[in-house]
Amino acid sequence: MSNANQISCDEALKRLFEYLDHELDAEHQGEVEQHLHDCRACYSRAEFEKRLKGKLSALGQDKAPETVGQRVRKLLERY
């Protein structure tokens, strides 16, 4: 393949998390995306990290207990 924008597995993995976090500029985002499209091993890695990220993000979804709501409502009543 002679694509000038082609990057190696090492480069793709180095930028993988920034890619998943949408922190790369459009050009680099496109390079990683293309690499993941072409490389099964890196694609599997990306899928794994994406799923792990999803599980991790669910940890922040605790519902605040009623006591917190009550305390905050009491504070707000004073304002």
Binding site: F17, H22, K55, G60, A64, V72, L76
Partner: protein, 219 residues
């Protein structure tokens, strides 16, 4: 009680809408329900007191989370005999954990008809295992991981919240994630997940097997 004060109405609506998220982050920062409650209440009080400093109300969320993290650090400084600087300072460089990846521990380059060990691992990992791994992270890493992974803030937003350069956020996040995976790996091993992931009942991998055919190999 209905108020005619538009600031008060805006504030109540904004805070109420974010209460669960604030509590969720506070819980993972403080790792303790009572402290998390205090942290949320104190954050709300401080946010109201400094509402005039919020110039763009669209930015309420990063603004109030900045107050939450600062309040957390201040409380820690009071309770523990540690300075804010020590808590917020970059931990030592070049930790070995920076290279650790669960995927690399488990991935088989050959396709297995019954699934892949790394996906199987994720199927077995419980919320409780992840919570323990996250709670075990050093503070400077945990805060960044919570803000990025649980709350989805951008690197520049986190940098602003913690008063550190974006590069510092990037490196702490990278090392925090690697350490988190290392912790998770350890916890999963202790919980016996690995034995099941590498079940002896599963067919033995043929070391001479050829890589999977093109149909599977390429997407």
């Amino acid at each position: 009680m209905k108020s005619n004060n538009p600031d008060r109405e805006f504030f109540e609506q904004a805070v109420t809408g974010l209460l669960d998220r604030l509590y969720g982050a506070a819980l993972r920062l403080s790792r303790n329900r009572d402290d998390a409650e205090d942290l949320v209440a104190e954050t709300v009080a401080k946010a109201w007191a400094s509402l005039a400093g919020l110039h763009d109300r669209q930015s309420f969320r990063p603004w109030v989370f900045r107050i939450l993290t600062n309040t957390y650090f201040s409380a820690r400084r009071k309770h523990v005999e540690t300075s804010l600087e020590a808590l917020a300072t970059e931990p030592g460089e070049d930790g070995e954990e920076s290279a650790f990846s669960i995927f690399e521990q488990l991935h088989q380059p050959f396709l297995l008809w019954w699934g892949t060990p790394e996906q199987e691992f994720l199927n077995r990992v419980l919320r409780e295992h992840l919570t323990r791994a996250l709670d075990a992270l050093p503070e400077a890493f945990r805060v960044v991981v919570v803000l990025a992974e649980l709350e989805g803030f951008s690197y520049p937003e986190i940098a602003h919240m913690l008063d550190v350069p974006v590069g510092t956020v990037r490196s702490r996040l990278s090392r925090g994630r690697a350490q988190l995976q290392q912790m998770l790996w350890q916890i999963a091993e202790e919980a016996g997940l690995m034995a099941r992931t590498r079940s002896p009942a599963a067919p033995v991998i043929d070391p001479d097997a050829q890589p999977a055919d093109k149909h599977h190999e390429q997407r």
